[in-house]
């Protein structure tokens, strides 16, 4: 049993991964503190109760990242000769589901409130002997929870493609859902102040549609991921990952003895596993020893091409075989 590959990340990616871990710990601490703050201010306002539950759901992706991405980077062993890279896919599915659930929950709450014509009321809040309108501390609490979410999300969105972590990407989407939902709640509070009791539910309902669309998109991506669909780019999942094709062309260009190359890859968490099919230019002239050396050359060239190419199986094949990929 030869375990596949060694380290998960080269230096740059390792740095990004460490930075991401720090960000996620900060996220967990921050959401927990925001949840406590909101609980204290919540009063009987529906908007605030909803925000508090949202915070709980928002904790799922950071925890998924901290647990799953840590598992994913473990070196392969006899027990797990392929390593445990797919832990990232599990974390991604979990986080995407959390995002979808958040959107559905918001939509349900908003719909019920509008259907039952439940009116939001915001009265007084006494602090240090002064009674002020309770909407003001609510807005402060929402700003405290919403504004950092915005910036944390953006930082994560920039980091995710660096080491190709989909859980981090899903968490960035969750942060976005968070600050949008909190903005909707803030609009609801102000609307209530102007006597528009329904503003709460309408704003939350509209935002929830966007979140549901986001969540659904990510759940589909996570599911197709798990059934080894052709890899797509991290952030813009509408485009195919160009790496397989690029590698094939690179090999054809740089290695003399390669007449034609085709590459088939599947994503395992951060990295790619795959097969390279090589048609040698003049197979008859290659001795067994030369063939083995040439194949090692291909392997080295491929792995240096991109850090994400974690392990490849190189197969020399006959010319006509590449028109119809072999099934093993």
């Amino acid at each position: 049993m030869i375990p596949v590959g060694t380290r998960e990340f080269p230096e740059e990616q390792e740095r990004a991964y460490r930075k991401a871990r720090r960000l996620e710990w900060i996220t967990v601490a921050y959401i927990a503190s925001a949840a406590v703050f909101l609980y204290l201010v919540k009063g009987s306002s529906q908007a605030m109760r909803t925000s508090w539950l949202e915070d709980m759901v928002s904790l799922v992706p950071p925890i998924a990242f901290l647990v799953c991405s840590r598992l994913a980077v473990r070196a392969p062993s006899d027990k797990y000769p392929y390593g445990t890279h797919a832990a990232v896919s599990i974390g991604y599915l979990t986080s995407s589901l959390a995002l979808l659930v958040m959107g559905l929950f918001l939509l349900t709450e908003a719909s019920i409130k509008l259907y039952m014509a439940e009116r939001t009321t915001i009265g007084g809040f006494t602090l240090f002997g002064e009674t002020i309108w309770a909407g003001w501390p609510m807005l402060v609490a929402l700003a405290y929870t919403g504004i950092p979410s915005f910036f944390l999300g953006r930082m994560k969105l920039k980091l995710a493609p660096v080491f190709h972590d989909k859980i981090l990407y899903a968490d960035a989407e969750m942060n976005r859902a968070d600050w949008m939902a909190e903005s909707a709640a803030a609009i609801g509070v102000i609307g209530t102040g102007f006597g528009l009791w329904w503003m709460d539910a309408v704003a939350a309902g509209l935002v929830s549609l966007d979140i549901i669309r986001d969540g659904w998109r990510n759940v589909s991506a996570a599911v197709t991921d798990l059934v080894d669909e052709t890899p797509k780019k991290t952030v813009d999942r509408s485009e195919l990952e160009p790496l397989p094709g690029e590698l094939a062309r690179h090999l054809e260009r740089t290695l003399d003895w390669v007449e034609r190359a085709e590459v088939r890859m599947r994503e395992e968490g951060h990295v790619f596993f795959g097969e390279v099919f090589i048609v040698p230019r003049s197979p008859a002239s290659l001795s067994g020893e030369e063939l083995v050396k040439s194949i090692s050359e291909v392997r080295k060239s491929a792995k240096e091409f991109n850090w994400r190419i974690h392990d490849l199986t190189i197969m020399p094949v006959e010319r006509d075989v590449l028109d119809q990929p072999p099934s093993l």
Partner: protein
Amino acid sequence: MTGARLAAVLLSLWLGSCDFPRDADGTLDRIQSERVLRVGISERPPWVLMRNGAPAGIEPRLVRAFADSLNARIAWTRGAEGSLIAALRERALDLVIGGFDASSHWASDVAATQPYVETSVILAAPEGRSAERDGAAIQYPSQRIAFAALIAQNDQRPEPVARPGAATAAIYDFEAEPFDLVPTGTDLTRERLVMFVAPGESRFLFALDRFLASRTRAEILRAEGTP
């Protein structure tokens, strides 16, 4: 940062001057223009009770002062809690009182004030008397049936009386002096009292919250002298 603070101050001043927050149904404006405050009452002594055919107790006294501040007279409606809450939701009433606790399930159907007072139900004994003997009955004012349950939960035997004072009794902490009893140190439960207004009426609720917060605890709980 000073730019933002200045903007916040100006915003509050502007909003404060243009009736912020507002009522969804214009309750406060209507009360001030029609000079009538429609109040629903459900009895729960000492918070709300009837005396000589008129509402009396801690909350009616507060509500009368509130109505005075609005230059309005009061139209009282007696009823069961459920009916009053239903009427409040339909905005047939402006305010409902009944010694409601903040944890009351009615709070999810209507809008509640902040708790305007916090109090404990305690066990108190006549001066000089030692702690209650095992198995001895604990007295409670006969109209406060809920106290009987509290006493029973404390593994003691409840005994209704017209007026406590003769033996160890379950009373509110602020009633110890009027009834000439000394707290024994046992708390049966804590209560946080609220009043209810119609959902959506934020301006009216805010005015009521401000009024209630402006009263001290002593003013609110001035002895009524009745069970």
